[in-house]
């Protein structure tokens, strides 16, 4: 599974970092950064949580 992040949709809420801090970080403007686009299985639940709480719907998980 691959994580996709649309940075231009990001509203800098930081919710993804709170949900999955091994996979996401924020730059100095608060815009989300993908640390690991193919996270290990043990992080997938956290990523799904991040997708659900992202207020900008900017994160997706795709089968690739």
């Amino acid at each position: 599974m691959k994580v996709e992040l649309e940075a231009d949709k990001c509203v800098a809420s930081g919710q993804c970092v709170l949900a999955a801090m091994d996979v996401f970080d924020q730059d100095d403007d608060g815009i989300a950064i993908l640390l690991d686009e193919r996270p290990a299985a043990e992080h997938l639940d956290d990523v799904k949580e991040a997708i659900a709480v992202c207020p900008a719907a900017a994160i997706r998980l795709v089968d690739q």
Partner: protein
């Protein structure tokens, strides 16, 4: 549990439906939405959509494939009209009846309106497109209400070259929510750009020519946007036996009755983190509470978890990004702990009782704000957390919600 109905197909309802499936629920899942559109995102309506930077398609929350993957009994374009808890059925406006074992109410809010000729409101995609198409340079827009929605719309219209008048009944916009000092910073942002902000005025009516004030004055406008808050969509629950009082009244688990939960803008629940009942109209809360309601509905009674979030919201106005954590209303004190109000770059902390209960930042780096979220989440002691850091004079507030 083999039949679950989620009423409301926006952020909270979608989050609930997705969570139910993610947690392994494989029974019938009915998602009812009064708008004909698949779930879409509302915060951009007063921002990128209104500014014509984004087309409506960008607001779609999930692709058709993702929605299909949820295996929903999807009922869009039909409102729920009644609830019979004794029979465990939801009645829909098209005359059909949907039985349930578990129910999640996420019917959201609708805009308050003014008497008279109507004017625009800003809640749905249709509302936003209609207003967007009228915001051409030189057009006179009157915005009634200088809350976050009205302020965002005013900022967009100003940028598009409209002549903007913003009318607000309170002496300082948003003072009840963020405090007088921070409210004044947000006020200056309008005035600095030549937006005609008039405070302490009450609008009684929208007319064909503009709006009528309580003292009889007519403020002329080509377009009027009414942004004076919203009302929970609970009328359809009359006679259901559920307790309704400015929202569906819930306990700390977001439960309104056995196997009936509420989430999002419509839910008034007891947040144990603050020890207060609250109803939060924020995008992130809709998703978080939708998830929490879904999990609690599926959980065994003793495995349910109280819903105790730190609320979060953001607002974009004139290139300022405002971010806030916690519960700011009804605070006892505000202190600027980083930056300066006058520079428009600051972080203000909010006290209620002995605890840090809120933080609002403008133009601050994310890591600075996250520390304060943590302080709120852990119920940090105000004296130990703020007194040592406060750079500006602590501002006593006589403000209550």
């Amino acid at each position: 549990m083999r039949r679950i109905v989620v009423v409301g197909a926006s952020a909270a309802g979608l989050a609930a439906a997705e969570t139910l499936r993610r947690e392994g629920y494989d029974g019938t899942l009915t998602l009812v939405g009064d708008e004909p559109l698949a779930p879409y995102d509302r915060p951009p309506l007063s921002k990128q959509l209104l500014a014509a930077e984004w087309e409506p398609e960008r607001l779609t929350l999930r692709s058709p494939d993702d929605l299909a993957g949820l295996d929903l009994d999807l009922r869009l374009g039909v409102a729920a009209s009644g609830l019979q808890p004794a029979d465990r059925t939801v009645e829909l406006a098209d005359g059909s009846t949907v039985p349930y074992d578990g129910l999640i109410l996420a019917t959201g809010v609708r805009p308050r309106r003014l008497p008279g000729a109507g004017g625009h409101v800003l809640r749905t995609l249709d509302d936003a497109v209609r207003l967007r198409d009228r915001l051409t340079p030189g057009r006179r827009l009157v915005v009634v209400g200088a809350g976050f929605l009205g302020a965002e719309a005013a900022a967009v219209a100003w940028r598009l070259g409209c002549e903007v008048t913003l009318l607000e009944p309170a002496p300082v916009p948003l003072a009840h929510a963020v405090g007088t000092e921070v409210g004044e910073v947000l006020t200056r942002a309008h005035l600095d750009r030549g937006v005609n902000l008039r405070c302490g005025v009450t609008v009684t009516e929208v007319t064909g020519e503009g709006v009528r004030l309580a003292d009889g004055e007519l403020v002329e406008a080509d377009e009027v946007l009414v942004a004076i808050g919203s009302l929970p969509n609970t009328d359809w629950l009359d006679g259901s036996g559920l307790t309704v009082g400015d929202g569906v009244v819930c306990d700390e688990y977001s439960a309104a009755a056995p196997n009936v939960y509420a989430a999002g803008d419509v839910a008034r629940w007891h947040n144990p983190l603050f020890g207060l009942p609250m109803r939060i109209e924020h995008r992130t809360n809709a998703a978080e509470q939708g998830m929490a309601a879904a999990r609690n509905l599926l959980a065994a009674p003793q495995a349910r978890k109280p819903f105790a979030p730190v609320p979060y919201f953001w607002s974009d106005q004139y290139g300022m990004k405002i971010q806030a954590y916690g519960y700011l209303r009804g605070h006892d004190e505000v202190a600027v702990v980083e930056g300066e109000l006058t520079e428009g770059r600051f972080l203000a902390a909010y006290r209620r009782g002995e605890k840090v209960t809120g933080a609002l930042a403008v133009g601050m780096p994310p890591k600075a704000i996250r520390q304060w979220r943590q302080a709120i989440a852990t119920g940090a002691d105000w004296d130990g957390t703020v007194a040592s850091r406060s750079r500006a004079e602590v501002v006593p507030e006589g403000v209550s919600a």
